[in-house]
């Protein structure tokens, strides 16, 4: 259960915060997660919600933990709206360095928002080509069907393979569908290090 903790617990500042070894402004805590004030906030009242267990990426977390985490986030968002006299919140997650992830410990940013506060998470409005969307859709539907039988082990396996192989910095390309999946299955023989190595190598991406 705590492979990640063994690997990263000593060096990961957020694991230390979760254990209470580093001081923080705790807003909420239970056995699974911790919510603290960001001491370098985007806005006053910016809350970081993190699992106590060390996951580098959201994709490694089991659904039950995600479900619990976001029902807590819903309550915290309500608390922000009510307590800080703001009119909105952003729920922001960065998965991977290319998406702006800065710490190798997965966390959710909950950001209080007011008009003209200098932040901008608005998504530009544009137009996608109808045919391209249809094409993408038909290639994704079978993959989605397959993915919803996804297990945590499968995700860990995928990441260990990804980090051993070509790396995570691929340009976006066409869908590869089933072929990709079969390749991943070949890493079965590395089951003993796939549990630990993946977290470590993903952690190293941030250095």
């Amino acid at each position: 259960m705590s492979n990640g903790e063994q690997q990263s617990g000593q060096s990961c500042i957020f694991c230390q915060i979760a254990k209470g070894n580093v001081e923080s402004k705790k807003i909420y805590e239970d056995e699974k997660l911790l919510a603290v004030l960001d001491i370098y906030p985007s806005n006053p009242g910016h809350i970081l919600i993190m699992p106590k267990e060390h996951y580098s990426l959201m994709m490694q977390m089991p659904d039950s933990d995600i479900g619990h985490m976001f029902s807590v986030i819903k309550k915290l968002s309500n608390v922000i709206l009510k307590g800080l006299d703001v009119n909105g919140t952003n729920i922001y997650i960065a998965n991977g360095a290319a998406a702006g992830q800065k710490a190798p410990h997965f966390m959710v940013h909950l950001i209080p928002r007011k008009e003209n506060d200098g932040l901008n998470f608005a998504l530009a409005s544009g137009k996608q080509d109808e045919e391209a969307l249809d094409k993408l859709r038909s290639s994704l539907v079978p993959i989605v069907k397959d993915t919803f039988g996804l297990t945590n082990e499968k995700v860990k396996e995928f990441y260990s393979e990804l980090n051993k192989g070509e790396g995570i910095n691929n340009e976006s390309g066409g869908t590869k569908g089933e072929g990709q999946k079969k390749e991943q299955k070949q890493v079965d023989n590395s089951s003993k290090d796939s549990e630990g190595v993946d977290l470590d190598t993903i952690g190293n991406m941030f250095k």
Partner: protein
């Protein structure tokens, strides 16, 4: 049906659907591969979702991000929800955005940290904790204000079985009767 998201839920480029949520390819976007996940019920803001839906919608968004990384080979994914107009919400129907990212794609969601003194942080901490500890039934006022300030009507139905929320919803509806 006037809500754009409700229309997408029925006629959009759906890639996943269950009893509670639908995931579809965004069409009003500049980002190829941009996926949106929406609750099937017309909830204006996040606070209106039931606890289960609030968790489930992000579980589905998470799986969508896995698909983007695994099959479209993007280098990273942002999951972003703009909750309330002042947070950048466009339509009066809560959605979660799953946004594919590649190195140097020109998008930037980062921010300049604001400097707060230790005192200011402590005050915020106390304030939030005191609100968190208050009984649930007082929560409705805040969400009501956000929906109405946003100028986006709040006709979110309550989840069956969630008595507290249902009560709040009824109270809010009553409040609006002129």
């Amino acid at each position: 049906m006037s809500c754009n998201i409700c229309q997408e839920i029925v006629n959009g480029k759906k890639i996943y659907e269950d009893d509670y949520v639908v995931a579809f390819l965004a069409k009003d976007t500049t980002i190829p591969g941009h996926i949106q996940v929406a609750p099937k019920k017309h909830y204006t803001i996040y606070e209106h979702l039931s606890d289960y839906e609030a968790g489930h919608i992000f579980c589905v968004a998470n799986k969508m991000s896995y698909i983007l990384v695994n099959y479209l080979k993007v280098a990273g994914v942002n999951i972003l929800s703009n909750n309330g107009i002042e947070a950048g919400q466009v339509y009066p129907h809560f959605v979660v955005n799953v946004i594919p990212r590649t190195e140097n794609d020109g998008r930037d969601f980062t921010w300049q940290p604001k400097q707060l003194s230790a005192d200011e942080l402590s005050q915020i901490e106390e304030k939030l904790i005191s609100v968190l500890k208050k009984p649930d039934k007082e929560e409705s006022t805040a969400t009501e204000e956000v929906s109405s300030k946003s100028g986006i009507g709040d006709d979110s139905p309550a989840e069956e079985g969630d008595v507290e929320e249902e009560k709040d919803y009824l109270i809010r509806s009553l409040d609006r009767i002129p």
